[in-house]
Each structure stands twice: as structure tokens, then as C-alpha cells.
């Protein structure tokens, strides 16, 4: 019998083009996603060397990072516009399909890949964006690359990669009622820190993972990079297959059934071993809120901001002090007492239809607390359309939320959507780094439900206890 293998090893072995002592493996790439910010220099490099895109048919581009999410065609910032125009002309010149700002398929690259069925189990997927790990939710080996590598993949459809070490993140038991995938991944990073995944590809396993929807799995895999792991994936199962059935780029009819069997066969074999394993009990997980300046600095909503004196090392103490100062928080302050100024529901972590549906359930019949600016930015044009068909836009608008066009928006504030210095934002995105949402902006990462509840109450509340009489 063959040695049992993890899904990571199976996908790897299927994609090795060339192997040689003393070198990384040359790995074939099945899907290359491209966006406007990390690609211009790569196309320029091709042009300078008179090279072509080897497989435009395996390449797909969109605009997401700095597209305006309001008044689509008034781009105040000329350089942003140049970047979008450059992507358009590059795609035309090199024959790469593009969902540009007016295209019905436009959206955040990590939302549209799965939506269109481009993302499939067993594929190797790269993109010049660190949250490419999102696609791992489908049992694909998906990772972020830099611009030099973007150029390399455009030219050769391959990448040099050393075989990764494998890490099993095992989630035992079931998540409690009202606990989301976002809370789970924040709790994992809170427990093991922002470096535990460095050098590894993570597979998420266990009962709680198996019961997550595809949207929830994407939220989990999305944040693998926040633990240092370049890729994080989940073995495909029936939930994966049903999500993909009927999507545009997925085979139809009998062929689909055959392919679906192959997909499921990719799942990690019983008895396969990993280079390392960490575990967490799902029933311990509470709704999470980050208090500091990296995603590992998070606590349950019932908790308090840590005290630098409790840090184990001098460096740790400095780090907490600096984070407290930047965030304008006091050691020991209950996180639920922290008042917010902005709410952002969006980003490739939490902007899919089910994210918006769950947030809308909380919001329905309530009003955004006065003084708070709240916005919802759907992850793609088609999420927006679907949400509008269900009347979610009305619920949000009636409550006082702004309802925007698809894009990355306030996740990184490259367009006009920024949080002013010193102001505080409850955000469903994935990074709370200093200055991420704007210079001096203070970001607290939460789930869509927690963000919605915070918008209404004006501070963080435990969504599980959230029941104020409807106005």
C-alpha cells in the first residue's frame, strides 16, 4: 500500500515539473490571478525582455485594491487611475482576460475566483497578494507571491518553491452558538501568535472545520498569512463540491461528477502525518476583538486589554506598550467599554453574501448609533446584486449604513475610504497594523455580526447577548 499522504503532498506531487538536488522544485501553476497594484512592474519586465504571457488562458485579472466604491468613475487620485488604466492596457496587450471596473464579474480577487468557479480543489493558485491563501478553502494550494514572481509566472507558468513543511491546525469539537469562523481564526492566532505558521503550509482539520460553510472556510484560510503561513487549506468534501456545482468555469454534467470524485480523493489520507500539529478546542472560542496592532493581539469580547507588566519578555512589554499607545487604550480596560467611530463590513475576509446576511439580521430594525460612520462594501459586483435581490441593501441603508460598490475599500484605504488619524474602526477585515486603514487609524478586527452590533451600540458587545428592543 502507498504511504498515506496529506492533501498538501498530493497536490505538490501532481505539479512538480522539475526536481533536482540543491534546488527548490519547479512547480506548475494552474491559475494565476492578477490585480492592479502588484502587476504593473511585472508586465513592464516582460515588455523589456520581449517576453510573452505563456498561458493567458490560465490567467485572470481584475481591479479591486484602489477602485472607488462610490461614484465609480470619479477617480480623484490620478495615480490610482493610472494604475487601473495600466492594467487594462497590459491585459489587452498580453491577451489576459480582465474583469475591469465596469464588468459584471468585477470584485475582490479572492471573492471572484471562487464565485466564478475558477478556484477548484487540487489546483495550484497564485496571486500577487498575500491573502491568496483564501482559495485554500477549496482544497487548492494557493499562496501569495511578490511582483518578481508574478512576472515569473506570467512568463513561465511555473514557480520555484521548496517543498513546504506541513502543519495540522486541528479544531476539536463544535463552535458554540453565535460563534463564527472569524472568531475561530482570530482565537487560533491569538493563542499561537502571528509567527507559528511561518515556513509551513497549514491544513485545518477537525469537526468544527468540517461543519463550516465554504464562506466560513474561506474566512479561516484567508487569515492563514496572519499566522505567517503562506498557504492554508481544507480537504474538499461534499460541501466543497456542492458550492462549486453549476459555477461558470466548472465542468458540467457527467464530467462534473467524475471530477468531483477526483476532488474528494485529494483529501488527506487517514494516517498521514504532518511536520507539526497544534490544537484548539472550538467550544472555548468566544466572540473575538483585537485590541492591538497585529491580529494576534486579540481577546474575547468579555476580556480586558492586557497589561504590559504581564509580558514575559522585555521585548513583549515594549510591544504591548507601543500597541496601547498607538491604539489609545489603557491596560486593563474592558474591551467592551471601547467606543468606536467607524464600522467597516467588507474585505476578502468577510464580504460574501452570507457575511452580509448575518450582519443584516443583527442590524434589522435598528439604527446606527449617532456619530458613527458605518459602511458595507460587498466583495464583488455579484455579491452586491444578490444582496440587493434579497433586500439587504435596504436593511443596511434604513439603519444608516452606507451601501457601496465592490472593492477592497477601507480594508487598506488605498482609495478614498480611509479612517482619519486617532479614530477607531470596528472592521471585518484581516489586518490591524498601524496605519492600515489610514495614517494613525485604529483598527479592531471582528466578525460581521460583532461589527454590526458595535455599529448599533457604539461600542463592542457580545453578539450572543445582543437583543435590544427594535425601534
Amino acid at each position: 500500500m502507498q504511504k498515506p499522504k496529506t492533501i498538501i503532498e498530493k497536490i505538490w506531487d501532481q505539479h512538480v515539473v522539475h526536481q533536482e538536488e540543491g534546488k527548490p522544485d519547479l512547480l506548475y501553476i494552474d491559475l494565476h490571478l492578477v490585480h492592479e497594484v502588484t502587476s504593473p512592474q511585472a508586465f513592464e519586465g516582460l515588455r523589456m525582455n520581449d517576453r510573452k504571457v505563456r498561458r493567458p488562458d490560465l490567467t485572470y485579472a481584475t481591479m479591486d485594491h484602489n477602485v472607488p466604491t462610490i461614484h465609480r468613475h470619479i477617480i480623484k487620485d490620478q495615480i490610482s487611475k493610472t494604475q487601473m488604466d495600466t492594467l487594462k492596457s497590459n491585459c489587452e496587450e498580453f491577451g489576459v482576460p480582465l474583469a475591469d471596473i465596469d464588468h459584471p464579474d468585477q470584485g475582490i480577487v479572492h471573492v471572484i475566483g471562487p464565485e466564478l468557479g475558477l478556484t477548484q480543489p487540487g489546483k495550484t493558485i497564485v496571486c500577487g497578494d498575500s491573502h491568496t491563501s483564501t482559495h485554500g478553502a477549496f482544497g487548492a494550494l494557493a499562496f501569495g507571491i511578490g511582483t518578481s514572481e508574478v512576472e515569473h509566472v506570467l512568463a513561465t507558468q511555473t514557480i520555484w518553491q521548496a517543498p513546504p513543511k506541513t502543519l495540522n491546525v486541528k479544531v476539536n469539537g463544535k463552535l458554540g452558538k453565535g460563534i463564527t469562523a472569524k472568531d475561530l481564526i482570530l482565537a487560533i492566532i491569538g493563542k499561537y501568535g502571528v509567527r507559528f505558521g511561518t515556513g509551513y503550509v497549514v491544513e485545518y482539520t477537525g469537526e468544527a472545520i468540517r461543519s463550516l460553510s465554504m464562506e466560513g472556510r474561506m474566512t479561516v484560510c484567508n487569515m492563514s498569512i496572519e499566522a505567517g503561513a503562506r498557504a492554508g487549506l481544507i480537504s474538499p468534501d461534499d460541501i466543497t463540491v456542492e458550492f462549486l456545482r453549476g459555477r461558470r468555469h466548472v465542468p458540467k454534467g457527467e464530467v462534473f461528477e467524475k471530477v468531483a470524485k477526483e476532488w474528494k480523493a485529494l483529501a488527506t489520507d487517514a494516517g498521514a502525518t504532518y511536520d507539526a500539529t497544534v490544537e484548539i478546542n472550538a467550544d472555548e472560542v468566544e466572540p473575538q476583538v483585537t485590541w492591538g496592532t497585529n491580529p494576534g493581539m486579540c481577546i474575547p469580547v468579555s476580556g480586558s486589554v492586557p497589561n504590559p507588566e504581564d509580558a514575559k519578555t522585555a521585548n513583549g512589554k515594549d510591544e504591548i506598550n507601543r500597541a496601547l499607545e498607538y491604539m489609545g487604550l489603557e491596560a486593563g480596560q474592558p474591551i467592551s467599554s471601547v467606543k468606536i467611530d467607524h464600522v467597516f463590513i467588507g474585505s476578502c475576509t468577510n464580504s460574501r453574501l452570507s457575511d452580509l446576511t448575518r450582519a443584516a439580521e443583527i442590524v434589522k430594525g435598528h439604527k446606527v448609533k449617532s456619530g458613527i460612520r458605518a459602511m458595507v462594501v460587498p466583495g464583488s459586483h455579484s455579491v452586491k446584486k444578490a444582496a440587493e435581490a434579497e433586500g439587504l441593501d435596504q436593511i443596511f441603508k434604513e439603519a444608516g449604513f452606507e451601501w457601496r460598490e465592490a472593492g477592497c475599500s477601507m480594508c487598506l484605504g488605498m482609495n478614498d475610504d480611509i479612517v482619519p488619524a486617532g479614530e477607531r474602526c470596528a472592521s471585518t477585515s484581516n489586518r490591524n497594523f498601524e496605519g492600515r486603514q489610514g495614517a494613525g487609524a485604529r483598527t479592531h478586527l471582528v466578525s460581521p455580526e460583532m461589527a454590526a452590533a458595535a455599529a448599533i451600540e457604539g461600542h463592542f458587545v457580545d453578539v450572543r447577548k445582543f437583543s435590544i428592543p427594535t425601534a
Partner: protein, 197 residues
């Protein structure tokens, strides 16, 4: 890219851990479409105040560290985004070598593909180097990639590890795509086999 064999230069210590790519180059500067000119934006939010004046309390603005080409920092340097603008900014500013106890994976890759040498030393070693750079005037280090060693003119000496492949790329300043294209027939074969599956 420019080959790196032995590099000698002034050391700039930045004693912080988890320095992320949003700090190395804030996103408002990612909008250019060329690789050049990013150095002026390096550590922008730390280096400059809201009016764009240099912050005297940020050490990179200290004349003592002018023309530094070796950056020594805390663990997990370069975490966050895949933006290659981060190494471009470091390189354009003048840094050729970065020393830290650990690096984020994508950042590490992006460095070696742009002619920046990431050197991983132990926590104690980096701390010692940072202290010396702090206390001495014009503290310099010599980094020898051929022999994978770092030393100063006092008594510091340490060896480091770098996988063979990026080491060769750096030593020779190779164009990686050019190298890969010599395997074009293998890629063709792989695609042909995939087609028939």
C-alpha cells in the same frame, strides 16, 4: 539584479519585532507603476510627521545612521502583505543586507529576488549588533555571502545559513526567468501530459 558577494557597510538598528510591510512602505505609495523611487517613502509614517517633516525622535533620521546599508531588526521582519514595494523601498533607500532573528516567508523571497540579502542570526546576536550600532559611532559590519559569515571590527563573528538556490541567485545576480526558460521543454512536456489526463 546586482550580484552580492561581500558587502561592508554602516549598520542601522531598528529594535522592533513584527515590522510589517504597511510600516516599511505605507499603501498610499503603492500606486506607482515602476520599480524605482520608493526609497523616499521607506518607513514613511515613522520617519515623517503629518506635515511631512522628519520626526527627530525616529532613529533613521539620526545623522549617525546616514548612508547605512545594513538594517538590523527584531523577529518576524516583513510580515503582512506580499508587496514587493517593501524590498524595493529598502533597496532604493540603500539597504543591501537585512539582519533579523526571523523573516516572513514572502518578504524573504522578495528580498532574494531583488538583490537584498536577508541574514538570519540568533536573537542574542542581533541584540548585540543592535546595541553596538546604538553605542558606537559609525558601526560597520562585513557580510560575506560566499562563506556565509558576518563580522565586525571588534570581535563579533557569526555564521548564517541561506539555502543554496537563493544564495547562487544572489551571488551571480541571475535573471531567474532566464534560468527557468532553459527548462522550457520540461514545461512543455508537463503541459502535454496534463492535456491527455
Amino acid at each position: 539584479m546586482e550580484p552580492i558577494r561581500v558587502h561592508e557597510g554602516r549598520v542601522y538598528p531598528l529594535n522592533r519585532s513584527n515590522i510589517d510591510t504597511d510600516q516599511i512602505i505605507p499603501k498610499q505609495f503603492l500606486k506607482r507603476i515602476s520599480r524605482q523611487g520608493f526609497g523616499q517613502f521607506l518607513f514613511f509614517n515613522w520617519r515623517f510627521d503629518n506635515e511631512g517633516n522628519p520626526r527627530p525622535d525616529f532613529s533613521l533620521n539620526d545623522p549617525k545612521y546616514q548612508h547605512a546599508s545594513i538594517l538590523v531588526a527584531g523577529e518576524n521582519f516583513g510580515c503582512g502583505s506580499s508587496r514587493e514595494h517593501a524590498p524595493w523601498a529598502l533597496l532604493d533607500y540603500g539597504f543591501k543586507v537585512i539582519i533579523a532573528p526571523s523573516f516572513a516567508d514572502i518578504f524573504n523571497n522578495n528580498c532574494t529576488k531583488n538583490g537584498i540579502l536577508p541574514v538570519q542570526l540568533t536573537e542574542e546576536e542581533t541584540q548585540l549588533l543592535m546595541d553596538r550600532a546604538d553605542n558606537e559611532n559609525d558601526y560597520t559590519l562585513k557580510v560575506d555571502l560566499e562563506n556565509k559569515r558576518v563580522y565586525d571590527s571588534i570581535d563579533f563573528e557569526a555564521s548564517f545559513d541561506l539555502p543554496e538556490y537563493p544564495r547562487e541567485m544572489l551571488l551571480n545576480g541571475w535573471d531567474e526567468i532566464g534560468v527557468t526558460l532553459t527548462y522550457a521543454d520540461k514545461i512543455d512536456q508537463f503541459e502535454a501530459k496534463k492535456q491527455t489526463l
